[in-house]
Amino acid sequence: MSKVGTAGNKGKSVRSDCFVTLEVTKSNGISIDINSKVGKLFGDSIHKLCEEELSYFGIENAKLTVEDAGALPFVLMARIEAAIKKVIDTDKQYIPDMLPENVYQTERDRFRRSRLYLPGNTPKLMLNAGIHKSDGIILDLEDSVAPDKKEEAKILVRNALCRVNFYGAERMVRINQIPSGLNDLEYVVPYNVNLILIPKCENADQVQLVDEKITEIKEKKGIGYPIYTMPIIESAMGVINAYEIATASKNVVAMAIGLEDYTADIGTPRSKEGKESFFARSQLVNAARAAGIQPIDSVFSDVSDMDALREVVLESKSLGFAGMGCIHPRQIKVIHESFTPTEAEIEKAKKIVKAFIEANEKGLGVVSVGSKMIDPPVVKRARRIIDLAVSTGKLSENWRDEDGE
């Protein structure tokens, strides 16, 4: 009896994706049937891709059907590979070439004001995600992927890491919950991922498990670039252990809170005002700041209400958060604007930083603006504001010269 494997998506609203059906047969060679929206323009190249991939996996007799809604080659490749892996046992991977422009590293303290979630099995949302310039882009393998699609999503996410240019955004992947999420790492660590999000994190062990696995893969593959982690706290226990989690590894650079699961865990619905999560959010900010990492807020789920989002972000900023999640590109601008310092904040910060530099130049131990003494942490906060203002274009890099000094 022949075995049939399928992968991908089809249907009216599906774009930039395909649905692949593979039947491995005993004889009669390869037969490929392509029904593509762009068949007149790309039919031949899709056919060739199918042949090459089947041959790579050593399949000599099969019937392959591709129902294509304009999938790019990396998507076609992933779907075919996923279908193949449903019918044959193989360790081989059919990996597209890495785009040279996708090879970049991240920094520990880079801004993480916004991180855009992309469902890991929906290629059409990936292609243009980078143009919206969120600080980070998350290819999500966890909650946005249906359980029966987890395997094919891993392959798709791997290929997307290779082929989709996110134009400088920090390249993030949210793996599945530990322990099963550990298996996801094989598919992402070798492909210039910058940061791994660890969902539903409850204790330091989970962070360390991820860390060890990353280190193991990096050593095996001879990878030198840093890969940081961002645990997401989504339970009462996680909140209690926040500091332990934040300090579990030197690779933890930020810690986020997921309020949907958290509010469910404490047995109350998530309200607009968010009183029920005030403790958790503050606890998270406090733990993260104590550990010297960035506290990151949850997502705001009403993508059409920009005014409400603005309020939430401002509150988030006032609680001490350094960033927030986005589930739609429209949210990025609002989040950036709100996390960007105001004119008044910038003016004040400029005075403080100037005074600090002058004091240093004069060899003074004490910084003062007017008659007020300025403590070191105030200087630190002012510098952070200046950096943020410069990076968002609100302040020129040479602001000191331009201020006429």
Binding site: R15, S16, K37, V38, K40, L41, F42, G43, D44, S45, A69, G70, A71, L72, P73, L127, N128, I131, H132, H328, P329, R330, G393
Partner: protein, 519 residues
């Protein structure tokens, strides 16, 4: 098509004869200047018309028979009712079922997907061909070579020009009117099928041999305002329903929700701003597509911030333009087509919202043309090539899918800007060569995509002004390469030698043709 093919001024092979009529290949912009006098309406005498002013006849059939309908005639209709038009389908049903003439030429100002039922009359020979813009199913039908005659696609202005030049003689014009009186005065402002202006029909009622008004809202004489004067009208037919209101006010009038299109719209507005195009007293025009509307929204924001007022806008009018008028950032709307009920209301109530016939205002044979006065012109395209040539009628797979609309005419504006995605699905929008050349690159100034902005090298002034911009200014070749890197390079569609449609330039010359798809 046995006719000889010649290479025209944009390098396309075009025939010198279409549907048995001699044609002139495109010679270059402003190079073809026909002279003399051609079309004129027949001489009529008022004594031959009812002295009580009542021109109502019992049915469409009766009106058509009185108008002398016969084989081979050219029948025109208009697209004020857009995808909600019921009159064109009913017209050809009556012609086919109740009269039985054939070999007609249908000369619509545009066709819509709702006209799909007309395909069966093209198949059975009732209609020989369509001369007019074709959308959706009709375009597909023509692309597969199933139409008996060769389609001729013209711009809005070109349609007027074709009538004046005698290229098209309208035997009977059938005009759907949301409100009319028994004398034939008509407007689109009132009634269950209100659509705004009726400007599309101007050439038709001035030049046609016979003019029939079809209305579902008869009022006593006089129907005011007289957007169409009854003195041009032969017969009035009253029916139950001329249109489906929710389809007349089309769905295109909402700002896009697509983040990518919003991004392009935002980039376009930033470009206009940095290039210094947004200044007191300027004029602009944009379509009613989602991206255009989003652009308008951004434009409005910039104008409000700076206290800038625009003098006039031509539309394609939607509530967004009406809002600008009402908030005082815009002095006048010149309305060629009202896309939603707010536009219809505004035209009714606001004297600064004036209905115009874009067909006439864009016409090549008028004493001056509105489009050359426009500062900012926002247009779309299915494809653009590295020489900035544009295509609006076919898709990259070669199928005829859209009409020209006012697109060609609008290319004459001072700054023609095309906000378009770099690729749609997997299909790159910027090519080495457009599938069908509808507009020469020398008239297209700026392409704005989500991955960069290309300025036509001829516009050294714009290039100069954007020299220090932080916007992603790139060459068109760079954009093309970027698209191909993402999508792969598509194969060209394959065609047979059969010509299924001719694309006219605004002056009546042939700029390109569409060939039959190879199966």
């Amino acid at each position: 098509m046995a006719s000889k093919l010649v290479k025209n001024a944009v390098g396309r092979l075009v025939p010198t004869e279409i549907n048995g009529k001699k044609e002139t290949p495109f010679r270059g912009i402003g190079k073809y200047i026909p002279k003399g006098r051609e079309a004129a309406p027949p001489i009529v005498s008022s004594s031959k018309f009812p002295s009580d002013g009542n021109k109502i006849v019992g049915s469409l059939k009766e009106a058509l028979i009185k108008a002398g309908i016969s084989d081979g005639m050219t029948i025109s209709t208009h697209h004020h009712l857009r995808d909600g038009d019921l009159v064109s389908n009913e017209l050809f049903r009556v012609i086919h079922d109740e009269i039985g003439v054939k070999d007609l030429v249908w000369f619509p100002s545009a066709s819509f997907p709702c006209h799909k039922p007309i395909i069966k009359y093209l198949e059975d020979g009732t209609i020989n061909r369509i001369e007019g813009s074709m959308n959706g199913p009709l375009g597909k039908f023509a692309s597969e070579g199933k139409m008996k005659g060769t389609a001729v696609l013209r711009s809005h202005g070109g349609r007027y020009q074709a009538v004046q030049d005698g290229e098209v003689h309208i035997d009977i014009a059938v005009i759907a009117a949301p409100t009319a009186d028994p004398f034939g005065n008509a407007n689109g402002l009132y009634g269950p099928s209100a659509c705004g202006g009726l400007g599309y029909a101007l050439a038709d009622y001035r030049y046609a041999d016979k003019v029939i008004i079809v209305t579902d809202n008869l009022v006593d004489f006089p129907a005011i305002p007289m957007q169409i004067e009854g003195n041009y009208v032969d017969y009035v037919v009253v029916v139950d329903k001329i249109g489906i209101p929710e389809k007349i006010v089309s769905g295109t009038t909402r700002i896009t929700k697509s983040p990518d299109r919003l991004f392009i719209a935002d980039l376009t507005a930033k470009f206009c701003d940095e290039a210094g195009l947004i200044k007191d007293g300027f004029s602009f025009q944009m379509g009613a597509g989602g991206t255009s509307l989003a652009f308008g929204n951004n434009l409005h924001k910039i104008m409000k911030e700076r206290g800038i007022k625009a003098r006039f806008a031509i539309g394609g009018v939607t509530k967004y333009l009406v809002q600008m008028l009402e908030e005082g950032t815009l002095d006048y709307i010149l309305d060629g087509q009202s896309f939603d009920l707010d536009a219809v209301r505004s035209m009714r109530e606001n004297k600064n919202h004036k209905d115009i016939s874009v067909f006439h205002c864009y016409d090549y044979h008028t004493k001056g043309n509105y489009t050359t006065m426009m500062d900012i012109m926002i247009l779309g395209a299915t494809e653009v090539d590295v020489n900035f040539n544009g295509n609006v009628v076919t898709h990259s797979d070669g199928y005829l899918q859209h009409g020209i609309g006012g697109w060609q005419n609008c290319l004459y504006a001072k700054n023609v800007i095309l906000p378009i995605p770099l690729f749609r699905g997997r299909i790159p929008v910027i090519k080495d060569e457009v599938t069908t050349l509808c507009g020469p690159g020398e008239l297209i100034d700026v392409i704005v995509t989500e991955r960069g902005i290309a300025i036509n090298p001829r516009r050294t002034d714009l290039i100069d002004r954007m020299k220090n911009s932080t916007l992603p200014i790139k060459t068109i070749e760079e954009l093309k390469d970027e698209a191909e890197k993402i999508c792969g390079k598509p194969k060209k569609p394959e065609f047979t030698d059969d010509i299924v449609a001719a694309i006219k330039w605004v002056d009546g010359t042939i700029i390109d043709v569409v060939r039959k798809i190879k199966e």
